[in-house]
């Protein structure tokens, strides 16, 4: 059976990608999850894995081509393999009609096709349209993020909750643990916080999964998206895959690995498309709290603020203590304030009993 391999969406804000390099050729036998190409988005170079196994019949796309999400890039002959359903992030639905010559010139000049009015049949952009002087923003990450987030806010009825959690016992526990580890084995504070969220997600499946076609599909696997600010500008949200199966030690290693690969542009497409819930840690940037926008088709996002000292009231005594503000942005079509509060309370309970995190 013939199967058209589409250009995958590597994030809600991606509507096209540039094929940098093919890693397969016609005649090759491709296994499921095998890396078949490298694609450059506005933010990063990503390795594309095949979701099917089969024989490569033809490569449609050429290295250097800019290709719209969903457009076939190769043809496989797939026999008897199982299709892995992949979540489809919300992507801009408008497809721009443009002639190849016009597209080539627009790319060469760094022009954004969305800003060019087509004069051809059905509004197709022709070469002469690109040759006209136009005001263009070119490829703009801010514009792409804005488009995706606008759509998320329009389609997802967000609700927001916040909890302030005392961290004194957690900090004391972490200091004691790290003091007795080799420097290179040190546990990172962000990882400890993620572990508390992962354990809470196990108890609250309504926060973990995809809302698609009017139906919520909870996910048994927890692929935890973690927002990473790129040194080159912009933000990527790769997922720590199967995070529920990892203990603190492996999570600590995987977290470092994924930040490293994000900055180097060595992510797998699964890591960018299959996140089931997202955490954004603005605390590292200095802010005390964040109310984030859900990354569709996910249904929840947890925001971690900056760990700081504040006055703690204990009976009639006031003392200094560490706290963190943890927020939840969640989809009202799937959960409500009560279940959201219980989820935040579960995170808090884990942080107040850090020994739980080691299990």
């Amino acid at each position: 059976m013939n199967y058209n391999v589409p250009m995958p969406s590597l994030g809600a804000d991606m509507d096209q990608g540039k094929l940098m390099q093919w890693l397969i050729k016609p005649g090759d036998l491709v296994k499921k999850n095998q890396t078949i190409a490298q694609v450059e988005t506005t933010k990063s170079v990503v390795e594309i894995e095949s979701f099917r196994q089969g024989k490569v019949l033809e490569l449609f796309a050429h290295e250097g081509d800019q290709i719209l999400v969903g457009k076939p890039i190769a043809l496989f002959d797939v026999v008897g393999d199982e299709v892995t359903p992949i979540p489809q992030p919300i992507i801009p639905s408008e497809r721009i009609k443009v002639s190849p010559a016009a597209r080539k010139l627009a790319e060469e000049q760094g022009l954004d096709l969305k800003n060019i009015k087509g004069s051809g049949a059905e509004g197709e952009i022709e070469l002469k349209d690109v040759q006209k002087p136009v005001i263009s923003t070119g490829v703009n990450i801010r514009e792409a993020i804005g488009r995706a987030m606008s759509r998320s806010k329009k389609e997802i009825p967000h609700y927001y909750l916040k909890s302030q959690v005392r961290l004194d016992s957690l900090m004391q526990w972490l200091d004691e643990k790290n003091k007795n580890l080799e420097p290179e084995q040190r546990w990172m504070m962000p990882v400890v916080l993620l572990r508390a969220i992962i354990l809470a997600l196990k108890e609250h499946p309504e926060m973990n999964g995809y809302y698609q076609n009017g139906i919520f599909q909870p996910s048994t696997a927890i692929h935890l998206g973690t927002a990473v600010a790129l040194k080159s500008g912009g933000v990527l949200v790769p997922a720590l895959m199967d995070a529920e199966q990892k203990n603190l030690i492996t999570l600590n290693q995987d977290f470092q690995d994924i930040i490293n690969r994000t900055q180097k542009g060595e992510l797998k497409n699964r890591e960018l498309t299959e996140g089931t819930m997202t955490v954004t840690n603005v605390g590292e940037l200095g802010s005390h709290e964040v109310f984030g926008i859900i990354f569709p088709p996910q249904v929840a996002l947890v925001g971690l603020g900056r760990i700081h000292e504040t006055a703690i009231f204990e009976g009639s005594v006031v003392r200094r203590g560490f706290v963190i503000d943890i927020t939840l942005s969640a989809d009202h079509r799937v959960s409500d304030g009560l279940s959201g509060s219980r989820f935040l309370t579960a995170i808090e309970k884990n942080l107040l009993n850090p020994q739980q995190l080691e299990k």
Partner: protein, 90 residues
């Protein structure tokens, strides 16, 4: 270690981990995050190397209190060295 030795050690560590940063151009009295872009992994690596090369463990509870690099340098210089430091040039 006195604070000058700590500062020199930190400059070498920063150079090794984030060579794009000119450590000597940093204002040590201002928050680091307001001056440069370092992700949590970069800073983690700095702490690992402070432990490895300068022989001082910096706990997270202290880090959360520091407002700038000056406070970090002061803390390190006041701590006993807990193990034999390795050469910064490794």
């Amino acid at each position: 270690m006195n604070s000058i030795e700590v500062k020199m050690g930190l400059a070498k560590i920063f150079h090794r981990i984030a060579p794009e940063i000119d450590f000597n151009a940093l204002d040590l009295t201002r928050p680091l995050r307001d001056q440069i872009e370092m992700d949590s992994l970069d800073f983690y690596r700095v702490l690992v190397q402070v432990d490895r090369q300068l022989g001082v463990f910096v706990p997270d509870s202290k880090l959360a209190q520091f407002q700038n690099l000056d406070e970090l340098i002061k803390f390190i210089s006041e701590q006993p060295i807990r193990h034999q430091p390795q050469s910064p040039d490794l």
